[in-house]
Amino acid sequence: MDDLAFITAVAAGMVRSGTPVLLAAVGECLTERSGILNLGMEGIMLAGALTAVIVSYLTGNIFFAIIAALAIGALIGLLHAFLCLYFHVNQVATGIAVTILLSGITAFCGIDYVGKSIHSISAYKVPWLSELPFFGSVFFNQDILVYLSYAIVPLTYFLINGTRFGLSLKAVGEEPRAAAAAGVSVFRTRCIATALGAMLAALGGAYLSLVYAQGWTENITAGRGWIAVGLVMFASWNPWKAVLGAYLFGLAISLQLRLQAAGADVSPYLLGMAPYLLVILVLAVSKLRQKKIPAAGPTALSIPYLPQV
């Protein structure tokens, strides 16, 4: 394999490995902008992944599988939002509780589906764009879900920064009391943002099981949900920067897999640590940079909203 082919393969792998984290991170951006911290992303991705596998296995229809994963994601997002908004619980603890619960449920229900072959999504070459040198084979020789992720990022950015809903979203995330006084429903806005974010995470999970791994294994996400939450901090709540972070993570995974396949003389377990350490490192570096120019995070993030006080 010559150098260009190797680089192209690594870069295409980067897009594939980065997509699940990208979807979850963009979703978490949206959720956190409304002032809700959803640490349950790991669990929601697991739920989305297993739901997609089960529905794909039972119906043989990818479309239904994705719809079902989205529905489960929305449901769990609403559960998290309900706990945060109705019971005013500690959001970090709820997220961890949701993840423990879902990792248990998915492991329990997924036993019969381990190793089952499912209908997967095949690649679709975009007619003209895939002819482009390098970029064509990296970005436009993927599957439909990857193309969907290309659309989701600008759409989310537009939703946050260009719509009326986005205005309410940011108001609720910054000054919920002022927003409520102006007639915006804090409860409803935060519920919608959490549900949408969770749907994106579930879609990321579905991508992981339907396309990336093409099947279900217990704990298939291996921490990608936590990584997505970490990347949102790195991205200072901007979906575009979250894409950058997700692809960086994807690059680490892709390189690691390629090096292993090429028979590099490094333990796969040591290589496996690289993506996690990279995210931690990237977080630290971006924080050092932000010390000079503080990032504008949602002020009301993870603070329970008590309207009666």
Binding site: T94, I96, L101, W226, G230, Y269, L270, I280, K287
Partner: protein, 356 residues
């Protein structure tokens, strides 16, 4: 105002109620999956507390949970969420394994165990130092960093047992050589209950003393509940946060030490079926109180070992434990504030009755 005792009673009843709700919810789940919850629950109960052997196995499972929950409690006192206890446990196991494999086999047992414990504590504390420093000096959420480090710790164990530390006699098994006899903790006659339990109990009582009747404990409480006031009072905030995380990591590491020394006798994967996460839940159930932690650890340890015994006979997946833990956790979190607002309403009603 409700009296302090009544407040504690209400808080504790919240823990009990959420456990009951958790059992009911999982019961429904088991029913839906075609199993009989009644037989499973009685099976778990007899498997956990049925006879002296079951009881001893419960204590064995409770020991690492106790260490982990106490570790979480130390950090929680200062308002830190150390979910990295799982990774710190594993690094403790690595630290003590290093000592057990390198010291000569003729080392006296007490010295060997002491060195293993020390090495475990140092490794666990240093591993906890990473999120601590990032939190204190860069204001990065310690929860996320310590969660990610749990995966790094698990991969480090895998690396060691597949690579440099792998038992040279059986290349097919990813595990280290068995420890020499002097590296094995003393057991209670005829059971697997080991010295670690005693150490955990002592740490629990010590922690109670430190938190409730020393200056350190008081300052820690102020920092945890009102950091602004602590800053105003010129408390050495950074130093306290770092010391708390170091202590937390060291205590979690003792769980890893006692598992490799007393139970496994070597380092291998699957060392912890998530003791760290269970410990996190236990600490919340016990409202961060060290003595309550001891009691709740034994309860959850019983559930773990009871469910373990049903894995074969009832074909009950071990994941059931996680489902129950998640359910209890969610009910607990919800009940906390529901109870608070309920008792507040009660208080207002009483006041109104008194006034009229």
């Amino acid at each position: 105002m409700l009296s302090k005792a009544a407040g504690a009673m209400i808080a504790f009843s919240g823990s009990i109620a959420s456990m009951l709700f958790g059992f009911v919810a999982v019961g429904i789940f088991l029913l839906l999956s075609g199993r009989n919850p009644a037989t499973i629950y009685t099976g778990i109960f007899t498997g956990a507390f049925g006879d002296t052997f079951c009881l001893s196995e419960t204590l064995v499972a409770a020991t690492p949970i106790m260490f982990c929950a106490l570790a979480v409690a130390i950090a929680a006192r200062l308002g830190l969420m150390n979910i990295g206890v799982e990774g710190q446990l594993l690094f403790g196991a690595i630290g003590s394994t290093y000592v057990a494999l390198t010291m000569p086999e003729t080392t006296p047992s007490w010295l060997m165990l002491l060195l293993m414990a020390l090495s475990a504590c140092v490794c666990g504390a240093l591993f906890a130092l990473i999120p601590a420093l990032m939190r204190v000096f860069m204001d990065i959420n310690e929860t996320i960093v310590s969660l990610l480090l749990n995966y790094v710790a698990a991969l480090t164990v895998e690396y060691l047992i597949h690579g440099p530390w792998q038992d040279p006699t059986t290349t097919s098994w990813p595990q280290t050589m068995a420890f020499p006899p002097c590296a094995e903790m003393p057991h209670l006659e005829g059971s697997r209950v080991h010295l670690g339990l005693l150490v955990a109990l002592i740490i629990g009582f010590l922690l109670m003393l430190v938190l409730h009747s020393t200056k350190f404990g008081f300052k820690a409480k102020v920092i945890g509940s009102n950091p602004q006031a602590a800053l105003y009072a010129k408390y050495p905030l950074k130093r306290y946060l770092i010391v708390a995380m170091l202590l937390s990591g060291a205590v979690a590491a003792l769980a890893g030490f006692s598992q490799v020394s007393a139970i496994e006798g070597r380092l291998r994967s699957g060392l912890s079926p998530g003791y760290g996460y269970t410990g996190f839940l236990v600490c919340f159930l016990a409202k961060h109180n060290p003595i309550t932690i001891i009691v709740v650890s034994i309860l959850l340890g019983g559930f773990l070992s009871g469910a373990d015994s049903l894995q074969l006979s009832e074909k009950l997946p071990f994941a059931t434990v996680n489902i129950l833990q998640g359910m209890i956790f969610i009910f607990l979190l919800a009940s906390e504030n529901a109870l608070k607002s309920w008792s507040e309403k009660l208080r207002l009603k009483l006041q109104a009755a008194e006034a009229s």
